[in-house]
């Protein structure tokens, strides 16, 4: 269903890229000067990630509801350029759920903030992140749109559930106040109607006595209730796209089950597209239709949940599956961890970013894993993987060495 037409994309032109990237700021500051540093970094952007043969980006609006094309988010820091997201492409239809999995520092959250357009808000000067690529939402390009347009979409069309509800909710205002505010920003209604709407939603997300709890402060709620309140807040405008960034990481299993159920129910009810970001493969398996595995700021594997769990193609995905103790299988004597630790995003290993940790780095030979960055290639219909190993090798290793041990 998702068209990952890496092949049809055409090469990024540095000049146009830079101006597009800078459009929101240029509009905001009214100065073309802001575009100059971008010009300087633009060649770097093209040189950094895409392989020589990478085709040019398609300028036509895509057919799918959300389409992210070659998204790059780089943060200039004193130590160097942090390439948090480095060429990410995916698409999502309405009513579908995409799960993004990866370790901390693999660029999952940066991607979601990029889609929300939160990287460019209130940050100026040298520390401002450099964004490039395209984000199409319902036929509208978000990265080149001006800040005001994005602000109108944010909260209404796209909304987000954050990981830690205690720090995402304002401690000084009641929960009701915050939900009402989110509603009234986008709808011209009086306070009474908005309050009714807030109570209705608190009720919908399963908060007992919503009429009373609407006047409670976040600290009076327990962790699970706070997360529900936040879900209510993000749903108040019936968003078309809901991004949940580690929505259950801070919660207990029993509450986690409640929240996951809630997200699933709400999605069926509202038919929105959901992106769920997590490091817990269990959560992803519960919710997602498609799964995107990220490593070092790039997508290393993409496919349906079925494909990724039953025919994973990338050694990193194997590593993730082997690292997890599983409650549904016989207890294994030992886990099979991925050796080493996640790479620094300032100094991403050359070639395949996973090569220092990959037990099969020498299988393809010629040192190709250390010198050439593997492209995301289609393995089977809709199933993509970025690995140098030949298809037969991967299938053999998975079937003979990995799968029996899981």
């Amino acid at each position: 269903m998702t068209d990952h037409e890496h092949k049809s994309h055409k090469d990024t032109e540095p000049g146009t890229d830079a101006t597009r990237v800078d459009a929101p700021q240029a509009a905001a500051t009214g100065a073309a000067g802001a575009a100059i540093p971008e010009q300087g970094t633009a060649p770097d952007l093209t040189g950094s990630g895409t392989a020589p043969g990478e085709p040019e980006l398609d300028q036509r609006p895509p057919s799918s509801f959300l389409e992210v094309r070659d998204l790059r988010v780089h943060f200039p820091t004193q130590d160097g350029l942090v390439k948090s997201v480095d060429g990410l492409t995916f698409s999502l239809e309405k009513g579908k759920t995409l799960g993004i999995v990866g370790e901390s520092g693999s660029g999952k959250s940066v991607t979601s903030l990029g889609i929300m357009g939160l990287h460019t808000v209130g940050q100026y000067g040298r520390q401002r992140p450099q964004l490039s690529g395209e984000i199409w939402l319902d036929g509208q390009e978000l990265l080149s749109a001006d800040a005001e347009t994005v602000r109108k979409l944010r909260g209404r069309e796209i909304s987000m559930i954050f990981q830690d509800p205690l720090s995402a909710l304002h401690p000084f205002f009641t929960v009701g106040h915050q939900i009402v505010e989110a509603y009234r920003v986008h709808h011209d209604v009086d306070k009474k109607t908005a309050r009714r709407r807030a109570i209705e939603l608190l009720d919908r997300v399963g908060i007992p006595e919503p009429g009373k709890r609407v006047d409670s402060y976040p600290h009076e709620f327990s962790g699970g209730m706070r997360q529900r309140a936040m879900i209510a807040m993000s749903l108040v405008n019936n968003p078309e796209l809901l991004i949940a960034d580690e929505p259950t990481t801070a919660l207990d299993v029993t509450v986690q089950a409640q929240i996951l159920d809630l997200i699933r129910d709400l999605q069926q009810e509202f038919g929105s597209a959901v992106i769920i970001i997590t490091h817990d493969l269990g959560v992803v398996a519960e919710l997602s239709d498609d799964i995107l595995v990220m490593y070092g700021g790039r997508c290393v594997e993409y496919g349906t949940a079925e494909q990724v769990f039953y025919e994973p193609q990338h050694p990193y995905t194997w590593g993730l599956l082997g690292s997890m103790p599983r409650i549904d299988r016989d207890r294994a004597d030992r886990l099979i961890p991925v050796k080493g630790s996640p790479p620094s995003l300032i100094n991403v290993p050359s070639g395949c970013a996973f090569n220092p940790r990959c037990p099969y780095a020498d299988v393809p030979g010629d040192d190709v894993t250390r010198t050439v960055r593997p492209e995301l290639r289609e393995v089977k219909d809709g199933h993509l993987a970025a690995c140098h190993m030949a298809q037969e090798d991967r299938e053999r290793i998975w079937n003979e060495e990995i799968a029996p041990k899981l």
Partner: protein
């Protein structure tokens, strides 16, 4: 992969001659309680107490791993701090190797600290940022006045090797390490004096999945090699199942089920255990559809430990609760060999209160 390399001849320094043999009771806890008083008003009058741990009994046998699992706020961390005597118990007794250590003072505990060590949850806040790794790992030697063979530095470097760090890390500071590596430093520190009992409070929950597996394997290897006894506290049931020999399930300051791994996961008896296990997300998309029907969804949150429900503490969320659950507290008794459960209406076992069959009104609605 992280198999620790131990050079031959570098045996642990502290003598382990007096250690109880495999399977004997190392630590015995009975009637342990910890209430944190709540003060209010001008005169700080005590108005109540958070009953974090409210009467638990268990024992830890030498060489085994006891897993303690429960939701947040069930008192599992308080329990860990009580048995390492970082907190003063309100009531009950703790015996370590047959010796009562319930109310030992700081100096009385000092020699025991060699034998009981703790690994903390958060590797960021449990290491002093201004100390080098060398200073952190050698602190136990300094405090206990132990002079290891070949000098402290050599011993520390050996320990770093054991936990899979490189000896050159001796002069670095904690901020130079990743989360997993920091946790290894914490483990090295806990192992420095070759303790008999290691209490690990959520040792892997702050780590990434791939790193989590490394640390779990490391703990496994160290146990095998050094004959350690672990009490591992965690909220993740899959991790607990992987590491533990016996498991205690806690709910609101009480142990509700205590048994070995096999019978807990195959035939859970307490409804809470069952609900907890059905709530674990299974990393298998094919089971998604079938599973959601079997799932027992508990309503609401854990009640406040300031004012726990009467009778069985789980009755407010239990789908099998009857009148007796409201009034009578179920004792923790063996319903099968080695399988202790505190429930009036257990699963997979004969009903303890067969006369009482009428469900409470909340229970009837809770059932899905």
């Amino acid at each position: 992969m992280t198999k620790p390399v131990k050079s031959p001849g570098s045996e642990p320094t502290a003598d382990s001659a007096a250690a109880p043999g495999q399977g004997e009771t190392l630590l015995k806890v009975s009637g342990l309680k910890k209430h944190f008083p709540i003060h209010k008003g001008l005169f700080k009058r005590q108005v109540g107490a958070v009953q974090a741990v409210d009467g638990i009994d268990f024992e830890v046998r030498a060489g085994e791993t006891l897993g303690v699992v429960g939701e947040s706020g069930c008192g599992k961390s308080t329990m860990g701090r009580l048995i390492t005597r970082l907190l003063e118990p309100t009531a009950g007794s703790i015996e370590f190797e047959g010796r009562d250590i319930t109310h030992l003072g700081v100096s009385g505990m000092r020699p025991l600290r060699r034998d009981v060590q703790m690994i903390f949850q958060d590797p960021y806040s449990s290491l002093n940022p201004r100390h080098t790794v060398g200073a952190i790992v050698s602190a136990p030697f300094k405090l206990q006045g132990v002079q290891p063979e070949g000098g402290v530095k050599k011993e520390v470097q050996r320990l770093l090797g054991v936990v899979g760090l490189s000896p050159e890390h001796y002069n670095r500071y904690p901020h130079e390490f990743s989360g997993g590596q920091r946790q290894r430093i914490g483990i090295a520190r806990a192992l420095a004096l070759s303790p008999k009992l290691v209490v690990a409070d959520e040792p892997v929950s702050a780590l990434d999945v791939s790193i989590q597996a490394q640390v779990v394997n490391l703990l496994d290897d160290l146990q095998e090699e050094l004959g350690l006894t672990y009490v591992i506290i965690a909220h993740d049931l899959s991790v607990i199942r992987h590491v533990s020999d016996r498991i205690a399930v806690m709910y609101l300051g009480k142990i509700v089920e205590l048994t070995d791994r096999q019978s807990l996961y195959n035939t859970p008896m307490h409804p809470y255990t069952k609900a907890l296990m059905s709530a674990v997300p299974v990393p298998d998309p094919r089971r998604k559809a079938a599973d959601s029907r079997e799932r027992i969804l508990l309503q609401g949150d854990v009640p406040s430990p300031m004012n726990p429900p009467s009778g069985c503490r789980f009755h407010t969320r239990c789908w099998k609760a009857t009148e007796v659950c409201k009034t009578k507290e179920p004792p923790l008794i063996p319903l099968a060999t080695g399988h202790n459960v505190a429930c009036h209406h257990p699963e997979n076992a004969p009903d303890q209160e067969p006369g009482d069959t009428e469900l409470l009104s909340e229970a009837a609605t809770a059932k899905r």
